[in-house]
């Protein structure tokens, strides 16, 4: 047997072409992670709370895209102008109607409310949609683009550029509009913002709405290459938290770079260590960042 084994060269795991394809694959996945993390980091930056219902909200958005496709025959990308406003309205209403009322002005209450919301949403989905894993099939689900020899699936390419465009729009809104100024003011100094006449509750609700709108976009980009079931959000929310911590709580650029980094680490890790162990890299990074740079790569020191 020994001589037989020597007859074949060891598998060339670090073949540059394979590695390149894996990195590209990771970047495209990372773009969607970034989009999910952007919503989370915006809500954290402004409201100073971790939105535990983020994963559940993503799950609801995915079901939205799924049913628009199955019932009305809408392409997931055509669903964008429906899903983004719908998720925004849902987020705004959720904050105004439930979170703000039930929190009685205490941040730690909000934490518990979002946790409760996520449990409720997940179980409601389990009740109404069952635990089936649902997927959609589109004409382009299996199409690929050849990028210097690496075959990348079309939905992933669309997701990559879609996530970049969404981030650009978000940065513009925050940086250039009066709403963005108000959001930044509330994030920095809540009391001061109220004193200069900003309707802080409205801005909070807007931020929550925009945070969920990001998920609406993410869902449209995700579903053609992914699936939906009631538990689908959990995997993403854990990764999104890692990205937010890695990039720096409240930093948009941090979330974007962090998303790409995590996507690549996951993909290359999966290639080198196997599918089951691949995610280990993500959490090793998480621990290292917490140990040596707790404010994150782009975060301001608290």
């Amino acid at each position: 047997m020994k001589s037989d084994e020597k007859a074949y060269p060891p598998p060339a795991m670090l073949d540059p072409a394979i590695l390149f394809a894996s990195v590209l694959n990771g970047l495209t996945t990372g773009a969607v992670y970034a989009l999910i993390a952007l919503g989370l980091t915006l809500i954290y930056g402004v409201l100073h709370i971790i939105n535990f219902a983020h994963g559940a909200a993503l799950m609801m958005a995915l079901y939205g895209v799924y049913f628009l496709h199955e019932k009305l025959g809408l392409d997931p990308y055509v669903s964008l102008p429906i899903m983004v406003p719908a998720m925004f309205v849902a987020g705004y209403a959720l904050y105004r109607g439930v979170i703000a009322r039930a929190s009685h002005g205490k941040d730690e209450n909000i934490l518990l409310i979002t946790l409760g919301l996520s449990i409720m949403l997940e179980n409601a989905a389990l009740y109404f949609f069952k635990s089936d894993t649902l997927t959609i099939d589109t004409a382009y689900t299996l199409s690929t683009v050849n990028i210097f020899g690496a075959m990348i699936a079309v939905p992933k390419m669309v997701a990559f550029f879609g996530a970049l465009a969404t981030t650009a729009v978000l940065l513009l809104v925050i940086g250039k509009t009066s709403l963005g100024r108000a959001i930044r003011a509330c994030a920095k100094e809540r009391q001061g913002a109220r004193l200069v006449g900003i309707n802080v509750d409205h801005v909070f609700a807007m931020s929550f709405g925009i945070g969920l709108a990001c998920l609406g976009a993410a869902a449209c980009f995700l579903l053609p290459a992914y699936y939906v079931n009631p538990q689908v959000g959990n995997g993403f929310v854990l990764i999104a938290f890692t990205i937010v911590v890695l990039g720096g709580m409240g930093s948009f650029v941090g979330a974007l770079i962090g998303g790409f980094l995590i996507g690549v680490v996951e993909s290359v890790g999966g290639l080198l260590l196997g599918e089951s162990l691949g995610q280990i890299g993500i959490f090793v990074i998480f621990i290292i960042v917490l140990l040596f740079r707790p404010q994150g790569l782009f975060g301001a020191r608290a």
Binding site: M1, D4, E5, Y8, P11, A12, M13, D15, I18, A21, S22, N25, T29, K130, S131, D132, T133, T135, L142, T144, M151, A153, A225, Y226, Y227, S267, G270, L271, G274, E275, S276, G278
Partner: protein, 402 residues
């Protein structure tokens, strides 16, 4: 016109099925309750639903033909259970079926679920006919209530290795290296371990064994790895969704081994896969549960299933169909709905009115000793038996040329 008649027939069949659990049709005598337990939701929902379909068709046929004749035509009533693709839920369903007074259980598709449900049923001495559940641990624990009609993964893997070796030898040994891709639960892991331990003895080098989760929605990494290893033979052992996605990703990434040779492949011997992804399926070889292609009853059932909208004639369907008949035969001979009597009747079963390539049933420690798989290949949009020669419909194409 025929379409309308077909529709009416299907609706009538459905209505009959819906009315069955009430047991009101049996002339006075209460119907015999049979647990029909499958993972009809969750990751294995596709297979679970087909399994349920097969069991229900058989149950309807048995009742329509006059029920259990030795007991004055008493009918069978299905207690439908959903294991939600989780062993622990399967156990809870067995508990429920016990409360409801099930005389026997047919199910529960996946190995890991069968392992749990047979044990739970053993507690109450409920006879449990295992429909698929290929892990051999299911029938080696000395459970008196457990009967598996089909072959286990040990027999199947051995047949696969032998047949692979025959084909490779006939083709002057073009294949030397192997990559195994398997799902993470009992079925995939057990099959992969058997393959990995036996292939080297036949002169094949197992270059890589990759395990993946259920569900997996991205096989790019695994296929990239495959590209770098460049194995002669790729052996997948996983369920439908992942099998289909793996082969589609291989197509996307232009990976073409000398053969995709699967053992109990989830999609390879599925008319659904062959129809929907003809390109990816073409040429795939699979060693799997299959009916005797020369038996008219198997073809008649195929016609019946394919006439139902959106249904496919898969091993889930015909194995459950046959298992329900196997159980009915035992009840017929037991002349009783008592669990103990049915267990004894199953244990002494010599049933030969099936269309599988098995011969009359003979259970030793709960395993039907005649059970064996067939080797199949997807050719020209159809699934053909290529080995063993007694059942073969056509010659194998190996190595596969694109």
């Amino acid at each position: 016109m025929t379409q309308r008649r077909q529709f009416l027939m299907n609706t009538a069949a459905l209505a009959a099925t819906a009315a069955l659990p009430l047991g009101a049709r049996a002339q006075g005598a209460p119907a015999i309750k049979v647990g029909v337990l499958h993972p009809v939701t969750g990751a294995l929902a596709y297979s679970g639903n087909l399994s349920r379909l097969g069991a229900q068709i058989a149950l309807d046929e048995i009742n329509a033909a006059g029920g259990i004749k030795s007991m004055g035509g008493v009918k069978l009533a299905a207690l439908l259970g959903d294991a939600q693709s989780k062993p622990e839920v399967g156990v809870a369903e067995v508990e429920k079926m016990n409360e409801q007074g099930a005389s026997a259980i047919v199910g529960s598709y996946a190995s890991a679920i069968c392992l749990a449900t047979t044990q739970a049923a053993a507690k109450y001495n409920i006879p449990h006919v295992v429909d698929v559940g290929v892990a051999d641990q299911i029938v080696t624990r000395g459970l008196k209530n457990t009967f598996r009609f089909g072959p286990g993964y040990k027999i199947t893997t051995e047949a696969a290795i032998n047949n692979l070796h025959i084909m490779n030898t006939v083709a002057r040994k073009p294949a030397k290296t192997v990559m195994i891709i398997h799902e993470e639960s009992l079925f995939g892991t057990g099959t992969a371990n058997l393959l990995a331990s036996q292939l080297p003895g036949m002169g094949y080098e197992v270059k890589e064994i990759v395990k993946h989760a259920n569900p997996t929605r991205d096989f790019n990494n695994i296929v990239l790895k495959m590209k770098s290893i460049n194995p002669d033979i790729v052996i997948p052992a996983n369920y439908y969704n992942e099998y289909a996605l793996l082969l589609r990703t291989m197509k996307q990434q232009n990976v073409t081994p000398k053969a995709v040779f699967s053992v109990l492949g989830g999609a390879a011997s599925s008319f659904k896969f062959v129809k929907e992804f003809a390109d990816a399926a073409n040429g795939v070889i699979d060693v799997n549960h299959w009916y005797n292609p020369k038996d008219k009853r198997a073809q008649a059932l195929r016609k019946k299933v394919e006439a139902m909208p959106g249904q496919f004639y898969t091993y889930e369907v015909f194995l459950n169909y046959q298992c329900m008949y196997l159980l009915a035969d035992a009840i017929e001979r037991a002349k009783s709905s008592k669990r103990e009597d049915i267990i004894n009747a199953l244990a002494s079963s010599t049933w030969d009115k099936h269309f599988m390539p098995y011969g009359p049933t003979k259970f030793v420690n709960g395993q039907n000793t005649g059970a064996a798989p067939l080797t199949l290949q997807v050719l020209k949009g159809d699934i053909k038996v290529i080995l063993p020669n007694t059942f073969a419909e056509t010659e194998p194409v190996f190595p596969w040329k694109v």
